[in-house]
C-alpha cells in the first residue's frame, strides 16, 4: 500500500484515497451509492456544507481514534482519515436525517414542476423522488417571491431557490464582477441584486447551469420545450473566450438550448461563455459529436416522466398547473 494513501470504508466497501479527499469524493470514486449533494460543487471553492443532504455517519474516526464522530457530518466537507469507517445508506440514522432535510427543502418549495423549465433535470425533484414521502406534513403558508428578470437572458424564480449559494460562488469565481448575492437572512434570505441590476458578463450564463433547481433559468429557452423532448449532443467550436465545448439540445434540427457539459455528478467542469451559450444557436456554428450521455441518476434517464410529473413527494398545486 502506498503509505501516503488513506484507507476509508463506506457502507462496507473500501478504497484508498490521497490525503485531503473528502468522504463524498471517496464515495463517488467507489461508485453508485454516493451521498447526494445539493450545494457542494467541486469546481467552486467554499461551496458545500449548507444543504445538509450529504450528511453521513462516521462510525470510526480513524485507525488511531476508533470512536464514532458525535454527530452526523457533511460528507462534502469532511476529510477522510486513515481507517475511517463511514455509513451512508447503510445507516437508518442517515436515511432518516436525509429524509428530514428533503422535507425541509420542500416545505417552502412551490412544487410547480409542471410549469418549471428545470423539470426533468432538477436535483430537488430527483432527491424528492428518492427520499421524499407521500404526504407533506406542512400545512403552513409557503414563502413566495415574484419572479424577476435579471438581464434579458436570465430569469430568477426565487420561490424555488434552496439557497445553495452556488450561483454566488460562480459569479465570484468564474465571472469578474459579481452583482448578485444573498440578501436578508433566515427564511427571508433571497438571491438578488438589491437594486434593479442586470447580470451582464461574458460568463454570467453559467449561474443557470450550476443552479440545482429551477430558480435560475435561461430565458432564451424558457417554455420552448420540455427537456426530455430534445436530444443532447456534445459539440464544440473554436472560441476565443472559453473552451467552446458544450452540449447542444436539439429538436427537429433546431438548437433550442446550449449548456456547458456536465460530468456524471452533474457538475460543469469547463464553464462556457455567453457567446457560445446565447449567440450560436445554428447547427452550422458547431462541430457536432456523439450524443451526450446524461449520466446522473436523473429522471430523464430513468424515463420516469414521459408525459407528466408525478413524483409522490410532489403534490402539484392546482394553481400552478393552470398557470
Amino acid at each position: 500500500m502506498d503509505s501516503n494513501l488513506l484507507k476509508v470504508t463506506i457502507d462496507g466497501r473500501s478504497i484508498e484515497v490521497p490525503p485531503g479527499t473528502t468522504i463524498l469524493q471517496a464515495a463517488r470514486m467507489i461508485g453508485e451509492h454516493y451521498p447526494p449533494a445539493m450545494c457542494y460543487y467541486t469546481p467552486l471553492k467554499e461551496s458545500g456544507g449548507k444543504c445538509r443532504v450529504c450528511l453521513v455517519r462516521v462510525a470510526q474516526t480513524s485507525e488511531a481514534n476508533p470512536r464514532p464522530m458525535p454527530k452526523l457530518v457533511a460528507s462534502c466537507l469532511t476529510r477522510v482519515e486513515n481507517g475511517m469507517v463511514v455509513e451512508n445508506e447503510s445507516s437508518p440514522e442517515v436515511l432518516e436525517a436525509r429524509h428530514g432535510v428533503v422535507e425541509f427543502l420542500l416545505i417552502n418549495h412551490p412544487l410547480d414542476c409542471p410549469v418549471c423549465d428545470q423539470a426533468g433535470e432538477c436535483d430537488l425533484q430527483n432527491l424528492a423522488f428518492e427520499h421524499g414521502t407521500e404526504q407533506t406534513r406542512y400545512e403552513e403558508g409557503r414563502r413566495e417571491f415574484d419572479k424577476i428578470d435579471i438581464g434579458d437572458k436570465i430569469q430568477l424564480h426565487m420561490t424555488r431557490c434552496i439557497l445553495c449559494y452556488r450561483c454566488v460562488f460562480t459569479a465570484d469565481q468564474i465571472t469578474n464582477e459579481r452583482v448578485h448575492g444573498v440578501l436578508n437572512r433566515g427564511d427571508a434570505a433571497e438571491i438578488g441584486t438589491y437594486i434593479k441590476h442586470a447580470i451582464e458578463n461574458d460568463f454570467s450564463g453559467n449561474i443557470v447551469d450550476v443552479c440545482p433547481v429551477g430558480a435560475l433559468t435561461d430565458k432564451t429557452y424558457r417554455f420552448k420545450q420540455r427537456v426530455w423532448f430534445s436530444k443532447p449532443f456534445n459539440a464544440h467550436r473554436s472560441c476565443d473566450k472559453c473552451c467552446g465545448e458544450v452540449v447542444l439540445w436539439i429538436k427537429n434540427n433546431d438548437v433550442i438550448r446550449v449548456t456547458a457539459r456536465k460530468n456524471k455528478f452533474g457538475e460543469v467542469e469547463k464553464f462556457i461563455c455567453n457567446d457560445c451559450r446565447y449567440d450560436h444557436k445554428n447547427l452550422e456554428d458547431w462541430v457536432i459529436g456523439e450524443a451526450a450521455e446524461i449520466e446522473r441518476d436523473s429522471v430523464i434517464r430513468a424515463n420516469k416522466y414521459k408525459t407528466k410529473i408525478h413524483s409522490p413527494a410532489v403534490q402539484v398545486d392546482a394553481k400552478f398547473v393552470s398557470e
Partner: protein, 444 residues
C-alpha cells in the same frame, strides 16, 4: 457576602475610570504576567479550572493550548461581547461599569496567547457600552497599558472595539469572526476550528467577556486559589443574570455550588417570587437550555438539592436536567404560559437563524408557525408530536449549534409540560393572552 472576584468593587463610585480602578488594585496582573512566560500564564489558567462563561463551559486553559503556535501567521484574541442570548445580561453590566476589568483581562490573555492585535466584538445595540469601552481603552493607552512595549516588557498590543449590527447569531464564534471580517454573520463549518483557522484565516481564540475578565484574578492569586473556589469541576464564581418573576432581578456574582433554592428565595439574591405566587418553571442558562419545572429545578430526579454548577444543573441529562449555559436565569411564576413562552422563544430563533443551512432555516420557521397556531387556538393534537419530530430533525444536523438552541426549548417544554399544550388544543378558549387585543405575529 459571598466571594466576589469580578464585582468586588463594582459599587465603588468612579470605578469605570482608570484612576479609581487602579487605586483598587487594577492592572496589577500585568506586571505579574510579564514576569512569567506566556505559557506559564496559560498554565495558571489551566490550573484554575476556569471554564468558558459564554455558554458551552469549555475549559479555557485547554482552549488556549489548542492555539496553533507552529503557524507563523499572526494570532488573535477576540472577545465575544455579543451577549444576545435571551435572559443573559451580565456582560453588558460588566463592560458598562468596570470596563477596565475586561481591558486588563484582554491584555494578560493576549500576552499569554502571543496576540499583537486583539478585538472586543460588542453587539451593535450596545453603542453606549462601546463608547464606554473606547474611552477606557484610550485611558489605558495613555497610561501605557496598551501600545508599544507595555511597561517596558517588550510586549506590544493594540486593542480595538468592533460593533456588531444586530444579529444573535454573531454570538456564535465563527459567525462572529465572519462579522468581524465585514461579512454576513454566517457560521463556518467546523473543522477547522478557530484555533487553527480563525480571524483572517489565522489562529484565533474567542472567549466570552466574563471569561476574560476572570483572568487577572487568576494571574494575581494563582490558578490553585481560583480552583479552591466553587465546587468540583465548577471552579470559581459565575455571574448570573436573574430575571422574570422574581422580587430582585439583577446580576449576581455567585460562588459556583450555591443551591438553586437559595438563589431563588434568599434575599441576598432573587428574593423569591412576587405577590406570593408559586414557582412554576425556570430556564436556568439562557433561552437555549431546557426548561425545568419547579420540582426538577430545585431538586434533581434523585431528590438531591440542585446546585448552581455545571454538573448539578446537568444532572439527569436532558431527561430531567438542564445546563448552566450563559447564566441567564429566567424564572416563571404560576401565571406564566409555557406555550406562549415557547412560541416567543421559537419566534426568536426563527428570526435569528442566519438561513444558511436548510434544517435551521426551514425548521425554525415551521416550528414557530405551528406554535403560533396552537397558542392562538388553532392547534391539533398531532401538532404536538409534529413539533417534537421537527425539533429532532433539526438537532445535530446543522452547521452551528443554533439548531440545537432552537430544538432544545421545544423538546423540553413538551417533555415537561405536555398537558399544557394539550389544553391549548382541546380548549382553545383557555388561551392565556386573551387580554391582548391583537395577535402578536412574527415580524421579519
Amino acid at each position: 457576602m459571598a466571594r466576589q472576584i469580578l464585582f468586588e468593587h463594582i459599587n465603588v463610585p468612579g470605578i469605570n475610570t482608570l484612576e479609581t480602578y487602579v487605586s483598587k488594585g487594577g492592572y496589577q496582573s500585568l506586571a505579574r504576567a510579564f514576569k512569567m512566560t506566556p505559557d506559564e500564564v496559560t498554565e495558571e489558567v489551566k490550573k484554575s479550572g476556569l471554564r468558558g462563561r459564554g455558554g458551552a463551559g469549555f475549559p479555557t486553559g485547554m482552549k488556549w493550548s489548542f492555539l496553533d503556535k507552529k503557524s507563523d501567521k499572526p494570532r488573535y484574541l477576540v472577545c465575544n461581547g455579543d451577549e444576545s442570548e435571551p435572559g443573559t445580561f451580565k456582560d453588558r453590566h460588566l463592560m458598562m461599569n468596570i470596563p477596565h476589568a475586561l481591558i486588563e483581562g484582554m491584555i494578560v490573555s493576549s500576552y499569554a496567547l502571543g496576540a499583537r492585535t486583539s478585538y472586543i466584538y460588542v453587539r451593535g445595540e450596545m453603542m453606549p457600552v462601546i463608547r464606554v469601552l473606547e474611552k477606557a481603552i484610550q485611558e489605558a493607552y495613555k497610561a501605557g497599558y496598551l501600545g508599544n512595549n507595555i511597561q517596558g516588557s517588550g510586549y506590544s498590543l493594540d486593542l480595538y472595539v468592533q460593533p456588531g449590527g444586530g444579529a444573535y447569531i454573531c454570538g456564535e464564534e465563527t459567525a462572529l469572526l465572519e462579522s468581524l471580517e465585514g461579512k454576513r454573520g454566517n457560521p463556518r463549518n467546523k473543522p477547522p476550528f478557530p484555533a487553527v483557522w480563525g480571524l483572517y484565516g489565522c489562529p484565533t481564540v474567542v472567549n466570552n467577556v466574563e471569561t476574560i475578565a476572570d483572568v487577572p484574578w487568576i494571574v494575581n492569586h494563582g490558578g490553585d486559589a481560583y480552583a479552591a473556589i466553587g465546587i468540583g469541576k465548577s471552579t470559581g464564581t459565575k455571574l448570573i443574570s436573574a430575571c422574570g418573576n422574581i422580587n430582585k432581578p439583577g446580576i449576581y456574582e455567585i460562588e459556583l455550588g450555591l443551591p438553586v433554592e437559595e438563589f431563588i428565595y434568599s434575599d441576598q439574591y432573587c428574593g423569591g417570587i412576587p405577590n406570593g405566587k408559586k414557582l412554576k418553571a425556570v430556564v436556568a442558562g439562557g433561552s437555549s437550555v431546557p426548561i425545568l419545572p419547579a420540582d426538577l429545578i430545585l431538586k434533581t430526579a434523585n431528590g438531591e438539592p440542585r446546585l448552581m454548577s455545571y454538573e448539578s444543573l446537568n444532572d439527569g441529562g436532558f431527561v430531567s436536567g438542564t445546563m448552566l449555559g450563559s447564566g441567564g436565569f429566567i424564572v416563571y411564576d404560576e401565571d406564566q404560559c409555557i406555550v406562549r413562552n415557547l412560541w416567543n422563544f421559537t419566534r426568536f430563533y426563527h428570526h435569528e437563524s442566519c438561513g444558511q443551512c436548510s434544517p435551521c432555516r426551514e425548521g425554525t420557521g415551521w416550528m414557530e408557525k405551528v406554535l403560533h397556531r396552537i397558542e392562538y387556538g388553532h392547534g391539533k393534537m398531532s401538532d404536538i408530536d409534529l413539533l417534537v419530530d421537527v425539533a429532532k430533525k433539526i438537532e445535530g444536523k446543522t452547521i452551528c449549534p443554533l439548531g440545537e438552541a432552537a430544538a432544545w426549548p421545544v423538546a423540553s417544554a413538551i417533555r415537561h409540560f405536555r398537558a399544557e399544550f394539550e389544553a391549548h388544543v382541546s380548549d382553545p378558549g383557555s388561551c392565556c393572552k386573551k387580554h391582548l387585543h391583537r395577535e402578536m405575529t412574527s415580524v421579519h
